[in-house]
């Protein structure tokens, strides 16, 4: 009996280690592959030029159009989603409490989170059709915002949920209204978590190909108008991988590398910012 229990302990420890190894291993493998295949074709021209004629056949040019396009798409979508998700998250915590409404909203957000992004793309496409829009930056922003919204709301929901209720009561006890308490105490206390939620949504948005496929389209030019098609990095990866030329396929990995670096850079920036903002947070 005693030996069996000790064996149990060892087996479980082994299984945990194995899982850890697989998770870390795949991370290393992904980043490694991208570096190995992408780095050789990553050049200054790739980052600073738009595709020239014959780029997809292996000629001169770069993916600046996709880099700028993706930043515009994801940036715009994140801003738009933030505009709607912050009030929803605040409503959930400051006003709805544990009511049925709050429960329903959370359920709806979880369902929306699970919706595949191609569905958002198709949905965005229909909306655009009704509005008389063509594939454009605006269309892409709307579709991506729909994709990001549930992620952001749920993330903010979690962040606000960690604020101790005694802290809120401390503010109420001084005669503060709900609005004052939310603005001056709740948001300050939860700012790091809120930022993380925004970042998570941005990361999801900038990396998504399916929802921008129909809604934003693709172009070799830099974005110049909300109503014109715009390129994006995930689609740049997709189109380049789809060519039969090894040199162009290599560039797809380089584009993927750029995408990863952008997400990483923004993540580091957000961490730095949240450290500065959370100087006063009560722990």
């Amino acid at each position: 009996m005693k030996r069996l229990r000790r064996l149990e302990e060892h087996v479980f420890r082994f299984l945990m280690w194995l899982s850890l190894l697989i998770v870390l291993g795949s991370l290393v493998l992904i980043v490694g592959t991208m570096l190995w295949r992408g780095l050789p074709s990553l050049s200054l021209a790739m980052l600073t030029q738009v595709p020239k004629g014959g780029y997809y056949l292996g000629e001169e040019g770069g993916i600046l159009n996709a880099i700028v396009g993706s930043l515009c798409l994801a940036g715009g979508a994140t801003a738009l989603a933030l505009l709607f998700s912050l009030p929803v998250a605040i409503y959930l915590h400051g006003y709805a409490g544990r009511s049925r409404t709050a429960h329903l909203i959370r359920l709806a957000m979880d369902v929306l989170w699970g919706v595949p992004s191609i569905v958002y793309g198709a949905f965005g496409f229909i909306i655009m059709f009704w509005l008389g829009l063509r594939a454009s930056l605006l269309g892409g922003i709307i579709a991506l915002a729909c994709l990001e919204l549930p992620i952001m709301v749920r993330g903010m929901d979690e962040a606000l949920g960690t604020v101790p209720s005694a802290l809120r009561e401390a503010s109420y006890a001084l005669g503060a209204t709900r609005f004052e308490t939310t603005l001056k105490v709740l948001l300050r206390q939860a700012v790091a978590g809120l930022l993380t939620a925004v970042l998570l949504a941005f990361g999801r948005g900038i990396g998504d190909a399916a929802s921008v496929l129909f809604t934003a389209g693709y172009t070799d030019r830099l974005p110049d108008s909300l109503f014109r098609p715009v390129a994006s990095l995930p689609l740049a990866v997709f189109f380049q991988l789809a060519t039969p030329f090894p040199a162009v396929q290599q560039r797809a990995y380089a584009a993927g590398l750029v995408l990863t670096v952008i997400v990483l850079a923004i993540s580091v920036m957000a961490r730095w910012l949240s450290r500065r903002l959370t100087r006063h947070v009560v722990r």
């Binding site: 101790p164 802290l167 009561e169 503010s171 006890a173 001084l174 004052e180 300050r188 009560v282 722990r283």
Partner: protein, 253 residues
């Protein structure tokens, strides 16, 4: 101690869901002085306290019946401004929770909300109330540092300063020394002793020795019911109820 009732509770009952936490409480809190609410854990002390600044209703499924008169006016009457009640009735919680801002901004939080703070008097307000809470000398050089960097004892005095800064007429104290070391606790007790001269203090405590040291008036609750209320002298030395006597002797609770 002034005999004019400052707070008058009439037939107060409180339910959490189906569970009745307070049963038909009627009691009077005289103006000025310290009224200690004593009783074992879970007897409804804190519930009674939180009903006086209407903080009770923020915690979800709560039903309240009865009346609480503050200077003769029912605070549960329709149309009463809750924030005004909470401004007149301050709270010192059992665990200090500084707001996520600097020491300076913590003190000014209330005055700013109520429009009592102008650019030219802000520094004076901060100094006055930090002095009132006996914290000024310790923090005068670092007013802009985060409040959570203070020790627990200092945080509790900051919370007191913050509460005093909105000039409440009543101060509710919910086991204000529960999280503190004996020396910090002593300082809070000394402060309360000084404050009672010009404000009504309701002190919830399960430390009988603390109640004996501080109370002018005592309310004894047992399982949500009021057993006895009266001047401290009388309740401690000559209780009317057998149950009070048993509790004070340490036989029950």
């Amino acid at each position: 101690m002034d005999e004019r009732p400052h707070i008058e509770i009439q037939n107060l009952s409180v339910w959490y869901g189906d569970q009745r936490a307070l049963k038909d409480i009627s009691v009077v809190f005289p103006a000025r002085g310290i009224t200690a609410v004593i009783g074992p854990s879970g007897c409804g002390k804190t519930t009674l306290l939180r009903s006086i600044n209407r903080l009770l209703e923020t915690s979800g499924d709560v039903r309240i019946s009865g009346r609480i008169l503050l200077d003769g006016a029912d605070i549960y009457a329709p149309g009463v401004d809750v924030t005004e009640i909470r401004t007149r009735v301050g709270l010192l919680a059992s665990k200090p929770f500084p707001l996520p801002m600097s020491i300076y901004d913590n003190v000014l939080y209330g005055p700013r909300i109520h429009g009592l703070c102008r650019r030219d008097n802000a520094d004076d307000i901060v100094e006055r109330y930090l002095r009132a809470a006996d914290l000024w000398e310790e923090v005068r050089e670092r007013l802009q540092t985060p409040a959570h960097a203070l020790s627990t004892g200092q945080q509790q005095r900051l919370c007191l300063a913050r509460a005093l800064a909105v000039e409440p007429e009543v101060l509710l104290c919910d086991e204000p020394t529960a999280a503190l070391d004996p020396i910090s606790a002593q300082r809070i007790e000394d402060l309360l002793r000084g404050l009672k001269r010009h404000m009504t203090i309701v002190l919830v405590t399960h430390i009988l020795r603390q109640a004996r040291r501080l109370a002018d008036y005592v309310v004894f609750l047992w399982l949500g019911e009021l057993v006895e209320a009266g001047p401290a002298e009388q309740v401690f030395n000559n209780p009317l109820s057998e149950r009070t006597r048993a509790y004070l002797m340490g036989d029950i609770g």
